[in-house]
Symmetry: C2
DNA sequence: AGAGTCTTCCAAAGCGCTTTGGCTTTGCCG
DNA sequence: CGGCAAAGCCAAAGCGCTTTGGAAGACTCT
């Protein structure tokens, strides 16, 4: 059942039927009702390919997915996706993943935009002066950055959590508890979120006249194994830290293992706070010693980004609106006063 | 730059240019070269929307993604996606995720197929007599099932690992080590993979005249917390098992925690084997006691499925070819002889 | 030389929708 | 009652590609 047939059986022109269906004003309300009704009754669904060709709109949002033998997709992605799906589902918005060589994302962005495959894209894990953001901005497709870049000479729409504030609060708590030597096990320090976390932590220390020893900060891909290695390195050096802030729950697993392997205990010898993106399958309260966290649901962020992308596509949102979400500090058993 | 312009500047018809570009035989090799050359020089890329409308082919593969407030996307998905991306990237194949209400997937499948949004789909986490498989089969779109259904009255193409064999081998090893009371912490027993694993385990026990106590099998969503709960329940009952087979590494984390909480040890009191889908961020060899596993890379499966979908789209693969991959049994420190 | 066969190319008809540019009809006003 | 604006509808022209149904020319064969 296509427009032509529908129009014919209603004894109307395609024009009118099309307009009636798409809510244009120049059609009698009475006729519109008739059309709507017939369309529903016959299960008419406009052919998206045809509509696409005519309008250039695809009704899909895009994500350029870096892949490669050496590239692992972050497990956070799945949670983000859940959120995105939560919103998109109820709006018949589909998501197009365009896998790309991690070293040449530009080509893929250009292709996706040139082909008008999607109406909007989002960018995740941005870095300072992120080239993708600049590119997408000049290509002129609606977009939102999940996270923030820095040092770009233009404003752009983004959704970020207050990473600096979160780690500032975490560190402040630790300092209040008497800790003087803090350590940071961070994610890839090429990414802005990691920079912000370190910044927040340093700021809290500075406020108390303390500093972050360079040997006390690690920046690694966030795996359990790397958490373990980093923690061992930190804890086996002279002047080892008494408290650790950690950028992910997964790394925290490794940290806990390292602490145990070294015959130390949490929080007796080491206090630990990690950032929790809220996974359903790994919860900080279930760690052998319940883990203090800075918490922010990445899933909610996914839903919000889908919502804002949809708003941008339909012109309801414009300009470079940045949104920064506060982060909860949840104190559990893994922090205590510094050892004497 | 579109076909018309290109044809015009070559003083050829659109027909000929189109045919030259798409490798049809009825065009002089000399002209073809000229066309190809000009196309490349001017960076001509056929408009996918137009091509879609004309051919009905979209050049994308689809996945219907169940979502909902109560639905969590499996973290395995991300690894599968990595694999899919590995292949798709080099073939400019995009993936369309269509989020759907988990309770009404049929509507979404129908929409996706009716709209010809994608050229092929894959289905994951199948159940016995899976309705999606039956649906997609009748809808007539190329597809592959990741995993297997059971009890359908037709054959279909799938890619599965030998879950039954894997757990059979695992159980056989445990029995050989003298264990008599095995337990199984399984995933959702509505899904075929879980059924097969249980079947494999029972078969191995039966071969030695043993049986699997019904109180010794749990079927839960695969989270750390559920692994913990299941293990506690198992280990606190009378006639507690001395060995546990566990369907995922994430649950195994919980099992290890439970064992420790109960003052027991691995492998002294409890032997543990888990299935490992090979996550980059959580490795069995890094468990406090290195974990024995049945191992199969879900990422490789993703790549293979993309490859086969592509083959089906282009007609290179046909029929109901099923592919079953063997699973490695990797023995590490978490298994030992049964306690006396 | 005439008939038949390839080879090579083209004009034009879709694919199914949106949108432009009218054309009637109706209602209102002076 | 004539004129004008608004309301309601339509025919047809795209969007950019593929594909059908020739047609012209070159070649082969008898």
């Amino acid at each position: 059942m296509n427009l032509k047939q529908l129009a014919h059986m209603l004894a109307l022109s395609q024009t009118t039927v099309s307009r009636a269906l798409n809510g244009y004003p120049e059609v009698n309300e009475e006729t519109r009702r008739r059309v709507m009704d017939a369309a529903k009754r016959h299960g008419y669904r406009p052919n998206p390919s045809a509509r696409r060709l005519a309008t250039g709109k695809s009704g899909m949002i895009g994500y350029v997915l870096p892949t490669g033998a050496a590239v692992d997709i972050d497990p956070h992605f799945v949670e983000f996706l859940s959120g995105l799906g939560d919103y998109a589902r109820s709006h018949e918005l589909d998501l197009v993943l365009s896998p790309t060589d991690a070293d040449d994302q530009e080509t893929t962005y250009r292709r996706v935009v040139a082909n008008r495959q999607v109406d909007a894209v989002y960018i995740s894990s941005p870095r300072p002066a992120d080239r993708r953001v600049a590119l997408v901005n000049t290509l002129g497709i609606p977009f939102i950055v999940h996270g923030r870049s820095e040092g770009l000479d233009f404003d752009y729409p983004f959704l970020d959590i207050d990473n600096e504030g979160a780690f500032h609060e975490a560190a402040r708590l630790l300092v209040q508890l008497g800790h003087r030597r803090l350590a940071l096990i961070n994610g890839d320090d090429g990414e802005t979120f990691a920079i912000h976390r370190e910044r927040g932590l340093r700021r809290a220390l500075a406020a108390s006249g303390l500093t972050l020893d360079d040997r006390h900060v690690c920046s690694v891909v966030m795996t359990e194994e790397n958490g373990y290695r980093a923690a061992r390195r930190l804890l086996e050096q002279d002047g080892a830290p008494t408290a650790i802030a950690c950028s992910s729950l997964i790394m925290a697993l490794g940290v806990v293992r390292a602490v145990r392997d070294l015959g130390l205990s949490i929080p007796g010898d080491i206090s630990l706070i990690a950032h929790d993106d809220v996974f359903p399958w790994l919860k900080p309260e279930n760690f052998s010693v319940p883990l203090s966290t800075t918490r922010s649901s990445i899933r909610r962020a996914g839903a919000r980004i889908a919502e804002r992308l949809a708003a941008r596509i339909s012109g309801l949102e414009e300009g470079a609106r940045g949104e920064v979400w506060p982060v909860d500090l949840v104190v559990r058993g893994s922090v205590a006063g510094a050892p004497a």
